[in-house]
Structures are given as structure tokens and as C-alpha cells.
């Protein structure tokens, strides 16, 4: 038997239960709790490592990440508009989703890297924070232009104070301020139980993804193809960019996976209020029901080879 990662099997269990319409539903508060733990654990781990290494984030790297975040929606938009024949609003919304990132995918990758003992930059959680918002802004501009009918101020406030950013940055700060010794007392919960929490999270994600699959009706062929090919393109861009700014092989893999991933929390919520005429089911289904499973099951092993290849040049 192949040695399958149990967390992936939990995802498949959730997806099976969802597809079979089994009597299985986790209460919303459990999902909130589990995802809060994950976000804090990722932040804390990064913060502790940062305190140990004493490294900062180079300005070139920050600029590259912002360029990736703002730029990624453009090819997505063009493909969706011309190959997928989607409306401008729908194509822009898809751009926002695919330019932004998925913390869930990042969590699976972190678990995978830890299990394989592959080192990567401790500041990687900061990349997630930096990459989350720019693409959503770019998506809104692609749909609306720079016109005045978007209430930018409350939108920015909502985005920058979103759950994932507050918890990731909060965790990073706590980890960094208290250091390896200081966090020893909370390590059993956040680090020791990380994989178990991740398994529960993925069980719920499987259920949600399977439910979302039911929304796949119109544009189904395009969305399924897009949801699997776009991550490959994103991963290639991310890997090359990571190589160009001199990341470690592990770091290249992280950036490739982030660029391949698509948002299913921050982007849908923001696009729903900023671009209401975009069909919310379209982007969410592609991101949640196609790209997320593709990335965690098939994508990450591919990106790992890609990163090794790119790093060897």
C-alpha cells in the first residue's frame, strides 16, 4: 500500500460523505475554531522561527510578492474572458480568487514539508499575508475600472482586518515576542496537535467542497479545466519568481504552491459586496471544489518536482 498522508484521506472522507449526502455535518463553530487554531499555529511557528533566525523580509522580496499579487489576476482575467467567454464581472472575480491565496493549501503544504524535513524560509507566513489582498483589489479594478462607485475605505478595512490576516500576523507577533522558550508552554496545543487539527479542518473542507460541487452546472467543462490548469501556470510563475529572488528550494516550493492556490474565503466575501453582479457560485466552485482538492492531492507533489528542477538551474 502506498503511504498516503492521513490528512488527505480525511479530506477524501469528508468529500465522500458530502457526495453521498451522509449524515455528517460539523457545526459552523467547530470550523471557526479549527481554522482559528490553524491560522494561529502557522503564525506562531513562523514567529518562533523568525525570533530564532533573526531575519527580516528583504525589500526586493516584498516588491516581487506585491507584483505577483497584483499581476496574477490579469492572465486569469484574460483567459476567463476570451477562452471561457465569461462576463467581465465573472472573469474579474475569478482573477481575484486565483490571484489571492488559500491558507488551507498553505497549511497542508506546511504539514507536508515538516513531515519530509524540508527547510523553508521562516517568514513564509508573511508571504501569505502579503499575497492575500492585492489580487482582490486588482480583481475589483478589472471589473469596475478606477471608478468611484466602489466604497474602497470600508472594503480595505474589512480586507486588512480579515480573520486570516489578523490571526496570522497576531500569531507571528506572539511567536516572535515570546520566542522558542516562551512558547514552550503552548507548544502541545499549537504544534503538537497541528496535524490532528489539520485533519479535522480537511474533513470539513471535504464536506464543503463536495457540497459546492453541486453548483457546477453552467460552464462546467471550462471551470474544471481552468481549475486544474491555472494552478499549474501559477505554480510555474511562482517557482520562477522564487528562483529569481533567491529563495531556498523549500521556499520556491512554498511560493509556487501559494501562486497555484486560490482564495475561497477572503475573495468571495469581498467580491460579493464590491462586484455584486459577478456570479458567486462560479468562482467559489472553481476555487473550492476543483483547485483546492487538485492542489492538495496532485498539485503539491508536482510543484515539489518543479521546485527541485527550478532550484537546480
Amino acid at each position: 500500500m502506498p503511504n498516503l498522508d492521513p490528512v488527505i484521506l480525511f479530506f477524501l472522507l469528508g468529500a465522500f460523505a458530502g457526495l453521498a449526502k451522509a449524515e455528517l455535518r460539523l457545526p459552523a463553530s467547530i470550523y471557526d475554531f479549527v481554522s482559528t487554531l490553524l491560522l494561529l499555529a502557522i503564525g506562531l511557528k513562523g514567529g518562533v522561527e523568525l525570533a530564532r533566525a533573526g531575519e527580516g523580509i528583504p525589500p526586493v522580496e516584498l516588491a516581487a510578492l506585491l507584483a505577483l499579487g497584483f499581476g496574477m489576476p490579469i492572465p486569469v482575467f484574460l483567459v476567463a474572458r476570451h477562452l471561457g467567454r465569461l462576463s467581465r464581472a465573472d472573469a474579474a472575480s475569478l482573477g481575484a480568487h486565483y490571484g489571492s491565496v488559500s491558507v488551507g493549501t498553505f497549511a497542508v503544504l506546511i504539514g507536508h514539508l515538516a513531515a519530509q524535513g524540508i527547510p523553508y524560509e521562516a517568514r513564509a507566513p508573511v508571504w501569505v499575508v502579503v499575497l492575500e489582498v492585492p489580487a482582490i483589489l486588482a480583481g475589483i479594478v478589472l471589473a469596475r475600472g478606477f471608478s468611484g462607485d466602489v466604497a474602497w475605505k470600508p472594503l480595505l478595512r474589512e480586507l486588512l482586518l480579515g480573520r486570516s490576516i489578523v490571526l496570522l500576523l497576531g500569531g507571528l507577533a506572539i511567536g516572535w515576542l515570546s520566542g522558542p522558550e516562551g512558547t514552550a508552554s503552548i507548544q502541545p496545543l499549537f504544534f503538537g496537535l497541528f496535524k490532528g487539527i489539520l485533519a479535522l479542518f480537511l474533513l470539513e473542507m471535504g464536506l464543503i467542497a463536495a457540497t459546492q460541487l453541486g453548483a457546477l452546472k453552467r460552464n462546467a467543462v471550462f471551470l474544471v479545466l481552468f481549475g486544474m490548469l491555472m494552478p499549474l501556470f501559477g505554480a510555474a510563475v511562482g517557482a520562477l519568481l522564487g528562483r529569481a529572488i533567491g529563495l531556498s528550494p523549500g521556499g520556491i516550493l512554498v511560493l509556487a504552491t501559494l501562486a497555484a492556490s486560490a482564495s475561497y474565503i477572503a475573495a468571495p466575501t469581498a467580491m460579493r459586496t464590491a462586484v455584486p453582479e459577478a456570479n458567486p457560485a462560479l468562482s467559489l466552485t472553481a476555487s473550492l471544489a476543483v483547485t483546492f482538492p487538485f492542489n492538495i492531492i496532485i498539485g503539491i507533489p508536482i510543484y515539489q518536482r518543479l521546485a527541485t528542477l527550478v532550484a537546480s538551474f
Binding site: 459552523a28 470550523y31 470600508p154 464543503i208 457540497t211 453541486g214 453548483a215 474565503i265 459586496t273 455584486p276
Partner: protein, 100 residues
């Protein structure tokens, strides 16, 4: 016991709209409201409450008929086109006329 007639407006809509809707209601002179998470099925398909971007809320407002009409008109103009939303109203009896 003395009681007074007021109107209760119920809005069932997407939870993504909560913040925008609340700001609208307050600008229209609504003094209070109750929001609960909701699930159900309508013309826009199954709406589940356990996934935030896809969840529904039910907003209940008790106010005088003039405010209720303003709320209905505003909500219809601003949200009906693009959001999953229904609105209905009914007369209710309240004990404190100054509260609603």
C-alpha cells in the same frame, strides 16, 4: 393590557451582505434589529449557514409603517437585482410604543 401596532420587516439574505445592510438600515432610521443565521432553499439554490461566504441571515426589524416602507423601497432598489434576498412584513403588537 395596552398594546400598540407596529410593523415587523423580515429580510432573508446572504450573510456577506450583513455589514452593508445594517449600515443601510441605520441610515434609514431603524432603531434596532435582530439577526440570526439561517438556512434554506430558494430560487438561488440551497443556502447553508455553515460556510460563511455561502451562508444566509435573517434580519428582523420592528418599526413604524413609514420606516418599514422606506426600508422596503431602499432594499429593493439597492439589493434585489444581484443578491439572494426576500423581504416581507407583517403587523405585530408591542407593549412599549416609544421603543419601536
Amino acid at each position: 393590557m395596552q398594546h400598540y401596532t407596529r410593523r415587523m420587516v423580515t429580510i432573508v439574505t446572504e450573510s456577506a451582505l450583513e455589514r452593508t445592510l445594517v449600515a443601510e438600515l441605520e441610515a434609514l432610521g431603524v432603531r434596532g434589529f435582530t439577526i440570526t443565521d439561517a438556512r434554506g432553499k430558494g430560487s438561488r439554490g440551497l443556502r447553508q449557514s455553515d460556510w460563511a461566504p455561502e451562508g444566509n441571515i435573517r434580519v428582523e426589524v420592528i418599526c413604524d409603517p413609514a420606516v418599514a416602507d422606506r426600508v422596503a423601497a431602499r432594499v429593493r432598489e439597492k439589493f434585489y437585482d444581484h443578491y439572494a434576498m426576500i423581504l416581507f412584513m407583517q403587523d405585530v403588537s408591542v407593549l412599549r410604543s416609544d421603543k419601536f
